[in-house]
């Protein structure tokens, strides 16, 4: 907060107030879209921790989400373990997988795009494994029982309740992830990560244990994604390997940080709240134009949102490679110039 200008502080408080008020003022549709935004913001933060802070590119983050989802889902459906307890196992499994990938990658000096390929390979391997894991439902899916009564009220232990409850849960997760990342980035580990990201050889030369701190980044990021998996499982109540661990799910989580700004704290949140609502508004606008006759009804507009997303990412990479958030900060003077910070 000390780094923000008065206007920046006011904007942040207004944004926080708006987020808290969404279930009270918004329709079910806006609430559902807001949950998607917050989920992507949370996952963006987890992904950003690896690439933005520690310089490790992952294109297989859906793997950790999937492991968290299937672990908590299995414990709940087969053993009756509530997600409040199952989340510990989910995080442990996701982190164990993260440690395997990290160990292989860092011990054998697999860096850059090759590390990204390693994450994809593991993600696909686990997806195919889950396809054949009959005790987890295989391709026929795993279904979490949900009663009508449990859709009302608030049961945080069993993660059962109204859509509003899920909204506040993912809001708390996104806010928690933001605060945790902020604390980490401004602490010793954050400086080490950035040093490793910018010049690993130099960081190692001055005594930074790059293996250990890279492992920290992978473990934290995979653990966070595991928590997201628990939320995913209990919000959607059905898990199919292709739907949860598909490569498109992994790519999806990278978009918000890329648009918002890789390596920034608020970039993943900003990116998620720009991309998702813009895509939805575009879909709405196209449907509206069709209804009003501005676009002929027989004109095929399928996938216009995905085209918009592709175009947006391409333009941002070309024109604002550091993402939109640093640019917006500067234009709106949300953050004090470096010399005036406390």
């Amino acid at each position: 907060m000390n780094d923000l200008t008065p206007f920046g502080r006011a904007a942040l408080l207004a944004f926080a107030a708006l987020l808290l008020a969404v279930p009270w003022i918004a329709s079910g549709y806006v609430l559902s879209v807001s949950i998607i935004c917050l989920y992507l913001a949370y996952m963006g933060q987890a992904w950003n921790l690896m690439l933005g802070f520690a310089g490790l590119l992952s294109i297989g983050h859906a793997l950790f989400v999937g492991l968290g989802a299937y672990t908590s889902g299995y414990l709940f459906t087969k053993l009756g373990v509530p997600p409040a307890v199952g989340v510990v196992a989910a995080v442990a499994v996701a982190m164990a997988m993260g440690s395997i990938i990290g160990y292989l990658g860092f011990r054998f000096a697999i860096g850059g795009v090759y590390f990204a390929l390693l994450t994809i390979a593991f993600s696909e391997f686990v997806r195919i494994l889950l396809d054949h894991a009959k005790f987890l439902g295989g391709t026929e899916g795993m279904f979490l029982p949900v009663s009508q009564e449990s859709r009302r009220g608030v049961d945080l232990v069993n993660l059962r309740g109204s859509t509003e409850m899920y909204y506040y849960v993912i809001l708390a997760l996104a806010a928690g992830a933001f605060l945790m990342c902020r604390a980490l980035l401004n602490g010793r580990v954050g400086y080490y990560w950035r040093a490793i990201r910018d010049n690993p050889e130099a960081a190692e030369a001055v005594g930074v244990d790059i293996f250990r701190f890279r492992m920290y980044a992978v473990l934290l990021s995979s653990g966070m994604a595991g928590v997201a998996g628990v939320f995913y499982a209990f919000y959607y109540n059905n898990l199919f390997p292709e739907q949860v661990l598909g490569i498109e799910r992994s790519i999806e989580v990278t978009l918000a940080p890329i648009v918002g700004g890789v390596g920034t704290l608020f970039g993943p949140i900003f990116g998620a709240f720009i991309l998702t609502p813009m895509g939805e508004l575009l879909t709405e606008a196209v449907e509206g134009f069709k209804q009003s006759g501005l676009i002929a009804k027989n004109v095929k507009t399928d996938g216009v949102k995905l085209m918009f997303w592709g175009l947006a990412v391409a333009l941002i990479v070309l024109l604002k490679p550091k993402g939109l958030w640093p640019w917006v900060c500067e234009r709106l003077r949300l953050v004090k110039p470096p010399g005036q910070r406390g």
């Binding site: 206007f7 003022i25 918004a26 329709s27 079910g28 549709y29 806006v30 609430l31 559902s32 879209v33 998607i36 989920y39 195919i128 396809d131 054949h132 295989g138 391709t139 026929e140 899916g141 279904f143 029982p145 949900v146 009663s147 009508q148 859709r151 859509t163 959607y236 109540n237 059905n238 199919f240 390997p241 292709e242 739907q243 598909g246 498109e248 939805e280 508004l281 879909t283 709405e284 449907e287 095929k300 399928d302 996938g303 949102k305 995905l306 234009r331 709106l332 003077r333």
Partner: protein
């Protein structure tokens, strides 16, 4: 710092605030619920993403529905379309959007995961959900009160296929004693194979399974697999394939002069138009067991005409017919309910009893779980570039050619 450079950001900041306020005012946070009597049907299919081609194909059936149903005397209705983007998260959000735009009924979604995500919204809002295509048994096992499915479940598909095979051998007058199965080694192929192999003993199939041969659907050469299958001397060849490998397998069978008693497919590939146009006469006589329509039903004929009017190059298929029937069930419930009120519509859905429908089976009704137990599979045979229904006999348009003719004896 110059005056200009100090001012510029302030002006932009004000502009931003004004712009943000305008956008916020324009965003429709709450849609007004339509209370009109014209039925609004929210249609959800994956029209983008990996399943886009299938979703778009389903929409062809939906687009043909108004013309056919108006001719049948059903009241005018409105279609509100939503794209699930092959993503359960989006399916859920789109179901919310369509309901807030006034949809009285939701139909869709082709994929079980997306269908289940949308079903949860319908259940919460108390809106009837006419499931047109989705096979996961769990959909009607969750105790949902608003979900009605007119599509066979996974187990229904497998058991019906085996029953149709037995009937085919009986009608054809020749029963194979041995069988070899060729299946893709991907998830779909392996799981389908497993489901069949599990059920063979309980169904007391007349043939003995000599071997199951897995192959890579992306392989550029399947000669070894065909050679292996031929070496078993099996009378029946059962296949679980996609379209490209189906073409390659057939070409290889012709090359190796292997003519089994018959080839029966339990899935896609072997009946698709690209298979028939590529292989022409040698694509004939292959039998596929699929969820299909009954071509003898008057409504099937009407739908075929309406589809051809819009899409002359399209043959009526599973996607069109089941998507269409999702709409038929909704408008029929609306007609009987005499209202768009959700409670009355759900009650009307429960009492559905449609005889004049399109898909194979005696008609549409729902059991206490919301499943249509009467929906049946069909056996179709390729003949001169067309898919002709050969079984069940009451839906057949011709008698099956069984055993299949030699590759060289097809005119």
């Amino acid at each position: 710092m110059t005056r200009k450079s100090v001012n510029t950001p302030r002006i932009r900041r004000r502009t931003f605030i004004a712009g943000a306020a305008a956008v916020a005012a324009a965003v429709p946070l709450r849609y007004a619920h339509s209370q009109g009597q014209k039925l609004k049907i929210g249609v959800l299919f994956p029209r983008s993403g990996i399943q886009a081609q299938i979703g778009i194909d389903c929409m062809r059936g939906v687009e043909s529905a108004p013309e056919v149903l108006k001719a049948k005397g059903y009241a005018d209705f409105e279609i509100l379309a939503g794209d699930t983007e092959t993503n359960p998260a989006i399916a859920r959000a789109q179901a919310e959007r369509l309901i807030e735009q006034g949809a009285h009924v939701i139909t869709g979604c082709f994929d079980s995961g997306q269908t289940l995500a949308a079903a949860q919204v319908c259940e919460q809002k108390g809106i009837p959900f006419s499931v047109s295509i989705a096979a996961a048994p769990a959909l009607t096992e969750q105790g949902y009160k608003t979900v009605f499915r007119n599509f066979p479940t996974g187990p229904m598909i497998v058991t019906d296929s085996l029953n149709l095979q037995k009937e085919l051998f009986q009608v054809g007058g020749k029963t194979p004693q041995t069988m070899v199965m060729l299946h893709t080694n991907d998830t779909y192929g392996t799981n389908t194979k497993d489901a069949f192999v599990r059920l063979f003993p309980t169904f007391n199939m007349p043939y003995k399974t000599l071997e199951t041969i897995a192959y890579d659907p992306a392989a550029r050469d399947l000669s070894a697999e065909v050679r292996k299958a031929k070496a078993t001397n099996a009378e029946l060849c059962m296949v679980i394939s996609r379209v490209n490998d189906a073409i390659m397998l057939t070409q290889e069978m012709v090359k190796q002069r292997w003519v089994p008693m018959g080839i029966v497919s339990a899935g896609p590939g072997w009946y698709e138009s690209v298979y028939m146009t590529t292989l022409k006469k040698i694509s004939d006589d292959i039998v596929s067991t699929v969820p299909w329509h009954d071509p003898n039903k008057p409504l099937s004929k009407a739908l075929d005409v309406a589809l051809k009017k819009r899409y002359p190059d399209r043959e009526l298929n599973t996607n069109h017919t089941y998507a269409f029937e999702g709409i038929l069930i909704a408008v029929d419930a609306h007609k009987r309910a005499g209202s768009t009120e959700a409670g009355k519509l759900i009650e009307a859905f429960r009492k559905t009893d449609i005889k004049d429908n399109v898909v194979t089976g005696p008609g549409v009704r729902f059991n206490e779980k919301g499943q249509n137990p009467d929906v049946k599979m069909s056996a179709i045979q390729n003949r001169n570039g067309k898919n002709l229904v050969v079984l069940p006999q009451n839906a057949a348009v011709t008698k099956a050619i069984w055993p299949m003719r030699a590759w060289t004896a097809r005119g």
